[in-house]
């Protein structure tokens, strides 16, 4: 760990949108490369980056499509930069090809998905949460991802730093699964002094130049990196490969390669998983939510408590890996789970999987664009409790 580079840190208190706060977090984390293709509702982030990239010495490019964007981001990372992109659903779909490459080349980078309604073009300027499963499963083959879900501009700032730190820690793409509401809302955010912010430095290989193994898995399954141009003459490939990065086409190598990609996240998931739990000690019902939805949940839960219902909340900060153990523990203690999302059930299935029939689990389509959204959550809490008896 090292202290944040003061060049990128605008310490102080500001009124910023989630999109803008995200970029400030990126600068603090040391990000100096942004690749984008313009898409609503992520553009305030791009403008913020452009306005600040001269003083921070960062590089910006608008590519021809989102496939190219992520390819360029991965290329820039191997030159020693920290790099990111911001997008929304349709662009996120196009990026899936190179998410797989990023996973396979074990390349740290940050992908911000400002979610909107889908499928396809959907509604570009309305908050959605329909890409959560795509973040987990969108590229082909077996892999694990880390995805975070901020619920305020302050968290957009904090979690962007965390995302870069996790990307470097685990040498993997990290996704920030935010939504149009959090990205567009303006709130006061505080950027601490550079000296108070911890930044994860890239883990470099420092041995002899002719002996670098790009995928030499250490005890935590996290291999070391080198930068292009330093004389290591290394090779990496998206094909199934051995430690040296050379393609090897057999079942043993496939197993070794995929297991290491899975294990570096799975074996460390207790360290990675983060959530915020409130009032669950005496709860009959637990509402599991993330992102903008969790703000509406707080309001609905407050109302339910006033009506005498024992209800608690679990807010996901990491969506992936999912807090399986905690949900399973709570399932033994509570009667029901309610999972409001701006989709027709994605994290709901994860909760249901972990609950294993121990409690009633209810999915709520939480449509923020209608004013009875909070009542839907409240009704669902009551219904879940009633059905569980």
């Amino acid at each position: 760990m090292l202290k944040a580079d003061s060049k990128g840190v605008l310490s102080g208190t500001y009124n910023l949108s989630g999109n803008e706060a995200c970029i400030e977090g990126a600068f603090v984390a040391g990000c100096r490369f942004l690749g984008v293709y313009p898409i609503v509702p992520s553009l305030e982030a791009v403008e913020r980056f452009l306005n600040r990239c001269r003083e921070t010495g960062a590089t910006f490019i608008q590519m021809e499509d989102e496939i190219a964007v992520l390819a360029a981001v991965l290329g820039a990372v191997w030159t020693g930069r920290k790099a990111m992109t911001v997008t929304s659903g349709p662009g996120f779909s196009l990026m899936m090809e190179n998410v797989g490459l990023g996973v396979m080349l074990e390349t740290p980078c940050v992908i911000v998905d400002v979610q909107r309604f889908g499928p396809s073009e959907g509604i570009p300027n309305r908050a959605g949460q329909g890409d959560i499963m795509q973040a987990r499963w969108g590229s082909h083959g077996d892999y694990e991802v880390i995805a975070l879900s901020p619920s305020s501009p302050q968290e957009m700032f904090d979690l962007t730093i965390k995302a870069f730190n996790l990307a470097e820690e685990y040498r993997t793409p990290v996704m920030i699964m935010t939504d149009e509401s959090v990205a567009h809302m303006k709130e006061e955010i505080t950027i601490p002094p550079a000296a108070d912010i911890k930044i994860r430095r890239r883990r470099y290989y420092k041995g002899p130049k002719n002996n670098y193994l790009p995928f030499k898995w250490d005890k935590n399954f996290i291999p070391r990196m080198v930068d292009i141009g330093k004389g290591y003459k290394f090779h990496v490939t998206g094909l199934t490969h051995n430690e040296r990065g050379y393609p090897v086409i057999n079942a043993e190598t496939q197993e070794l390669n995929v297991h290491s990609i899975l294990n570096k996240i799975r074996l460390n998931s207790d360290k990675i998983v983060e959530f915020e739990e409130k009032n669950t000690q005496d709860a009959d019902v637990v509402v599991v939510s993330y992102g903008i939805t969790s703000r509406d949940v707080s309001e609905a839960v407050e109302q339910a408590r006033k009506e005498g219902i024992k209800v608690g909340t679990l807010r996901l900060i990491t969506v992936w890996p999912f807090p399986e153990k905690r949900i399973a523990e709570l399932a033994k203690q509570v009667k029901a789970f309610v999972v409001p999302e701006i989709n027709y059930g994605q994290i709901y299935f994860e909760v249901e999987r972990c609950v294993r029939g121990e409690a009633n689990t209810l999915s709520v389509f939480h449509d923020r664009s209608r004013d009875n959204g909070i009542h839907n959550i409240l009704d669902a809490i009551k219904r879940a409790l009633k059905e569980s008896k």
């Binding site: 590089t59 021809e64 390819a71 191997w78 790099a83 141009g229 003459k233």
Partner: protein
């Protein structure tokens, strides 16, 4: 009668290009009669001649037969996704402008699935060199029709002869904005080497198209003989016409192939323009 010379058992010698090849990966996967190997030789010879700092040269490939080049060259090298070698290389060049970035890939990779990236990298004049091996076919997957297959040629997916007009790669590159465009066959080893060296030294987006025999899938289905027969055909039927307008460079089935250097011009590179923009906005 002269005395017979005793045949000397040669001592094991190193391959002359060993410093630039990953000998631990040789033998390579390319078929006998394929032109990719000679193109690699031309590239390596060009690098040796130029005396670049080889620590600063990076090779990026996409997917396909030519896509495997990155895996055999002993430089920092990346084997990326299908068609995305150019945007990956763009990120590398922007991430560290001191690097010499070379994209080494095939016609299907760069002109079909990666066609959009090819056009826009040329338009932006990203300072990279593209060595594009054109074998008229998707060879790695078993010989399907490509956007470069000449009209009437048979492939596994054009069993009655191809009816789609092929891309004229030099014309495409010139129209999109490339500053250096040349075409050779893999038989023009010396000229190809010279062209690759020129392209590597040229600031901006440079393209060297290399017509290569696919002795396995293209030649067999079209009954064009062995690799050596295709090589002979390409050699005897290529005409060197430097500066030929690129609109005249269409390739027709088993007809003459115009080769040479067609475009060599100056345009500000992306990074030059970018730095000017940064500088101007600062003041």
């Amino acid at each position: 009668m002269e005395a017979l010379e005793t045949i000397k058992v040669r001592e094991k010698e190193n391959h002359p290009m060993e410093p630039l090849l990953r000998m631990d990966r040789i033998p390579h996967i390319w078929c006998p009669g394929c032109g990719i190997g000679t193109t690699v030789t031309a590239f390596v010879s060009a690098l040796e001649k130029l005396e670049f700092d080889l620590d600063k040269v990076v090779v990026v490939s996409g997917i396909g037969c030519t896509g495997r080049v990155a895996g055999y060259i002993k430089l920092d090298s990346f084997h990326t996704t299908h068609g995305r070698a150019i945007p990956f290389a763009t990120g590398i060049k922007l991430g560290n402008p001191d690097l010499k970035v070379v994209v080494f890939s095939g016609d299907g990779d760069l002109v079909s699935i990666g066609g959009n990236h090819f056009i826009h990298a040329a338009r932006r004049n990203i300072d990279i060199t593209v060595i594009l091996v054109n074998n008229f076919i998707y060879a790695m997957t078993g010989g399907q029709v490509a956007p470069t297959t000449p009209v009437s040629a048979y492939t596994t997916t054009s069993p009655f002869g191809n009816f789609e007009p092929p891309s004229n790669i030099p014309q495409l590159a010139e129209a999109a904005g490339a500053v250096y465009v040349a075409r050779w066959t893999s038989l023009h080893i010396r000229r190809l080497t010279k062209s690759i060296a020129e392209a590597l030294q040229k600031p901006g987006f440079s393209v060297v198209e290399v017509i290569s025999p696919c002795a396995m899938y293209y030649s067999r289905i079209n009954r064009l003989g062995e690799g050596i027969d295709m090589m002979r055909f390409y050699h005897e039927n290529s005409i060197i016409k430097h500066g030929e307008p690129t609109e005249n460079l269409d390739i027709k089935y088993q007809k003459e192939i115009v080769v040479g250097k067609f475009v060599d011009r100056e345009r500000p590179t992306f990074i030059e323009s970018y730095n000017r923009w940064i500088g101007e906005t600062k003041s």
